[in-house]
């Protein structure tokens, strides 16, 4: 089941702030399971791309030092009401997710 990805957009002038929240553990690989004493395997988002009307405008690289349930935000230029913003991400274990919003 895909991890929940939520988007919020805020249009200011012709720029849109895009905020993305992803339900992701962002495990560093250093934390130990309190029951087994074993290290919990690293599991974190690596790539996150932002596309405006299907064209990629930015690509973020995330690592294990990014917080659990991470919030990532950028400002997209040259947007107008009705445009579509899509955010796609993938992690080090091959999982991925995406979400779309209309400006």
């Amino acid at each position: 089941m895909a991890k929940l990805t939520k988007i919020k957009t805020r249009l200011t002038g012709d720029e849109t702030e895009v905020l993305v929240l992803v339900n992701h553990p962002m495990e560093t690989g250093q934390r130990k399971d309190s029951k087994t004493g074993e290290k919990i395997p690293a599991h974190y988002i690596q790539k996150m791309s932002f596309a405006l009307n299907g064209k990629v405008v930015a690509e973020a690289n995330l690592g294990p030092a990014v917080s659990k349930n991470p919030l990532t935000a950028i400002r997209v230029k040259g947007t107008k009401t009705g445009d579509t913003i899509k955010v796609s991400w993938s992690d080090n274990q091959g999982e991925s997710g995406a979400a779309e919003a209309a400006v």
Partner: protein, 156 residues
């Protein structure tokens, strides 16, 4: 050293398994550039910056604003905002000097479709300087802020 091997093994194994099994990694996936492993593995800020931008020579720019708490309530969630109102911002990276691996996250907007702004939430193991590296106009600009951390956020 051991950890690096473990990660490589895991990545190769699971990525192939998922791609083969579920076809999730479609050819039309817009994630072009590879994840900069060397930069994320670098143990010093200078090495991480070099790995990411090709050089570590940078100059402070007071026009860049880094918004982060002076004293973080909890090191596991430290909100950091970088506002770089410069011309032609190509990329922004957030480094935590005292973290075992200083590079926390970076963004590439070299296509010109996004302005010089990046907001994130990071983990900090201890009190440290947090520096934003902004690539703009062919140069590397920086702005920093020290964030005090009383409860480390790396996994306790």
């Amino acid at each position: 050293m051991k950890r690096r091997t473990f990660l490589q093994g895991t990545l190769a194994g699971s990525a192939l398994a998922v791609a083969a099994g579920a076809g999730l990694l479609t050819p039309t996936a817009v994630l072009a550039a590879d994840w900069p492993k060397n930069a994320f593995d670098a143990k010093s800020e200078a090495d991480a910056v070099s790995a990411l931008f090709g050089s570590s020579s940078a100059a402070e720019n007071s026009a860049i604003k880094v918004t982060a708490p002076i004293q973080a309530e909890n090191g596991s969630v430290v909100p950091v905002k970088v506002d770089a109102p410069l011309d032609g911002v190509e990329g922004i990276a957030v480094m935590v000097e005292k973290n075992p691996s200083p590079l926390a996250t970076n963004i590439d907007m070299s296509g010109g479709g996004a302005s010089g702004y990046y907001s994130t939430r990071i983990k900090m193991g201890s009190t440290s300087k947090v520096t934003a590296y902004v690539k703009a106009g062919g140069k590397l600009h920086t702005a920093s802020q020290t964030v005090k951390v009383t409860i480390g956020g790396c996994g306790g």
